[in-house]
Symmetry: D2
Subunit: 312 residues, 4 copies
């Protein structure tokens, strides 16, 4: 299939189910993909932050792309993260994931590396676009990569054809709007795809003109996010808001983890995977080291959230 330009709709970052031993659980992964496809999603994003890409070895990353691409076989666009510290390392991942069949790559600014100047970020994306065989989507996720992607730079690289889209997980709707509005004004960026990574202000992002969303929490309730997308597309903003408010309530499960025992990442990914486990989608709720697993009490609280939402 041709990669859509612009990419639109709900494109969840796919969780990576693991076994107790920390290996990729491929059958669970494929069941999760089925669960998302049945939910009506418009694409799949593997090896993103929600996929625990930072925690997976190169071998495991390859396994994930091959399994998912092999399974959806051209039904849906599959994007893959090529998450690494700087240009050459990213290019190795680009090669690996495109060889495995990914149709676009998602790439952050350099991190760890001290290369946060706009000229350095531009050079990074230009090198990757030159060398890479597939569209490049920029990924702005300050919780993981402190270097922000300035709107002006994103639009410049979009107009040059270096970037095919932006996944914005910053929560900064004002900056997001700047990119959306800028891209709409210029025919050179008409096909540029502006996607929000937020689970809790997706309605607002669509209202300001987003092409779509990459909500991690859609792993747990894909139907909800697809419904929200359709309501927004139909111009039913009150309906969209009501659905979003419902999802925001459910999203409260990401805070079940005791902050005395774990950080917010362990809590959120633990809740995602626990919910998928309780819903019968995946076999084991394990998250990768060094994340801290949810306790039985915390697991019970996730169950209550699901039960209250009629998702059990």
């Amino acid at each position: 299939m041709t990669f859509p330009a612009p990419l639109t709709g709900v494109v969840p970052p796919v969780c990576t189910p693991l076994t107790e031993e920390g290996e990729v659980d491929v059958p669970s992964l494929l069941r999760l993909v089925e669960h998302l496809v049945e939910g009506g999603v418009h694409g799949l994003f593997v090896l993103g932050s929600t996929s625990e890409a930072a925690y997976l070895t190169d071998r495991q990353r390859r396994q994930v792309v091959e399994a998912v691409v092999g399974h959806v076989g051209g039904q849906l666009p599959v994007l893959a993260g090529a998450i690494d510290m700087a240009t050459a390392r990213v290019l190795d991942h680009v090669e690996a994931v495109t060889k495995a069949g990914a149709q676009a790559v998602v790439v952050t600014a350099p991190f760890y590396a001290r290369a946060a100047h706009p000229a350095e970020i531009a050079r990074h994306y230009r090198r990757i676009a030159e060398a890479g065989p597939v569209p490049v989507v920029a990924y702005d996720i300050p919780v993981s990569v402190p270097t922000r992607l300035p709107a002006a730079l994103v639009l410049e690289l979009a107009a040059e054809g270096v970037l095919a889209g932006l996944k914005d997980s910053s929560g900064d709707l004002a900056g997001f709007r700047e990119v959306v509005t800028g891209a709409r004004k210029d025919p050179a960026t008409a096909a540029f795809s502006v996607l929000t990574g937020s689970e809790v202000i997706m309605d607002a992002a669509l209202a300001v003109g987003a092409d779509g969303a990459v909500p991690g929490f859609a792993n747990v309730d894909p139907h909800g996010y697809v419904r929200l997308y359709r309501l927004a597309r139909a111009g039913d903003w009150d309906g969209a808001r009501a659905e979003q408010d419902r999802l925001c309530g459910l999203f409260g499960m990401t805070r079940v983890g005791d902050p005395a025992r774990m950080g917010p990442g362990s809590s959120a990914l633990g809740a995602f995977k626990t919910a998928l486990h309780l819903r019968g989608v995946i076999d084991c709720p394990a998250t990768a080291d060094p994340q801290i697993p949810l306790s039985p009490e915390e697991t019970a609280r996730v169950r209550t959230f699901l039960a209250d939402a009629g998702l059990l």
Copy 2:
């Protein structure tokens, strides 16, 4: 050779010379190692931040460790960075670098990954120490990894035998002192090695009790840093301060890069490699993508710094 416990002295993070094409220039790398050994250094740290580890592919990283270990052949302790985002990826690097002969590994807290809780950091280091065959040195470098390593946690992991040392590149001498003092008080941590990563307050770090230093700028002037170390060890603090002040002046070269064109990382690493090139140690001053190269004018300023210091 047995890895020293504690590791002491000047252990420079070795720059990685590159060709114009961005490949590791092994002959230049070995000349650089010779230059350092002749300078009197007490160990070598490959694949650190100054080595551009974040920019090198896995293949290039392997090349570096193999070349350096093969060359120094047990004369000097060789530590290698195992720099990656989370536990499983770090363990892959630990395996690679120890197979290539590194005698200790240097490991940061998780980054990109959201795992900054003390319990998550502790789990990270414990897993790596359990699985790894060599001593683990913790690496606190907030300019690259925002998660700081609290003194109390470092001392706890040291007492457990999980950590063999700390390389502290935070510039926070008060926190550094806390670790030094804490480690000296407890017989269980008598062999724990506390190393500063600072090039400009190494005299102060030694005065508060550091075992040694890992100064990136020692690539350019190893004799100076070794002299400084010896003066400090001899209790000649005024002499040590004078040598440090001289090195601080020379270190001004790291700021030659125009901030309108590049970030401080491009400027500093560009100056290191340009100086090594001008001193005839390496063949090419290239830094890895997406760093911005120094201009001819900036190169000329590096030359002036060297000339004024009698290093040409």
Copy 3:
């Protein structure tokens, strides 16, 4: 007049016109108030950040409140900032502004003072509410006060009756939504007023349920912000978005200042006051020391923005 509960609508933070000598220009201030009242605003907020409260002396602050309260004489609710570092100093301002006639006070978390723990923030607001004769609106403005106000804490203090509202200038719509949704769920907080401080995502804030907005840029185009508010209240979200997009374009004037010469604050406040001067509302575009004034070229660019918008 009774202070409305909840406060709703467009409540601009009123700029403080200054003379060339840096004194409050009361006639210009009253013309600005007229301009806002004619624009249809629903209240006035004096001594906020946009009012340069941080730059005004206590004498000047008093002058501002007295002039504005004296002029609007109960026509419109007048809120006043009581912006200072910690509890006792804030209470002195509360006393001064309420004596001068302000009907509510707007108070941040402590700053400069190291008192950022939730227990310390709660104690701060409780003391102020106990001692103060008027409703207290919390002010979350991370660009000025790094300590954020957690949603749970705001809701707790709202339910206690300590806080009458929140002005959120964080730009973090997800956190804002949490407060809105939380306040709506609890009868105890039915009259709690949730106001956005954003000029560029006011439509989105209203869509998620904000009671109103405190947009600094409404000084320049009050009619636009009032129109936007009315469209949103009428449920015409497409109309609201179009008006917001128009205002966002105009808001581009806040970036005319050359970043080599000044920071973003000098640029934004300089543009506000220059626009008010060019529109004939105030006599002099001066901003308070140590802000840097706009150059003639930068002033010309503000004029172009206004001309293109038909505001000259």
Copy 4:
């Protein structure tokens, strides 16, 4: 007396004893001043961060300066903080404290105000120096004022005669050294005073060339800090380090406060005042609102620290 140029020695920021009702306890304040003078300190700094300047009203600030200046009557230089958000407000404090007899003022970069550009900071200090009748000491305290004072800017303003000194509470010894070294190189800045605000690396700051120190913890043990200063001046660096290490151990009392109940500021200032109370210097350990008081258990731990140090 003439204000010394450069100011040297131990110049403690004087705590402000309060009554249970939160008023300045002048008799205790004067006993504290006596305690410091007997300890051998070389100057006094009132209305600094340790003095809770951020928490004191203008009336209380005036009371403090008048009491202290009246008491020491020209025996010792008295500096006073003029801590406020921007230029005009600072100038009001400068007037108040100099009228009350302070011989120099200590001034931070603007805060809350968005004026962090070097050109804005320079304008701030130039205005204050022009208008003010006494020497101006710049105050770099990132824990309270996020805007750092770049070394190059400090040296430029020093050479211009705008600044008479720097109090650096950043803990960044590398930046501190840059100022010290830069000031020593230029005859125009020979009388510029570079003071560290650190309690725990004062020996290191003196070793790199500091003129003196402004250690908050000297309230509790002035004799220790004076001893440390003399040892350093005598070139007995090992003795200085031993004294500093002893003081660092005692300084552990600043962490007695339970982090579940309070922030680090409440804990540190609470410990200072509790120690002064237990030592019989001040009548009441109360800290200003909204700080959280130490519990009886926490107070007992402070007592143990003092007892172990022979300070009871």
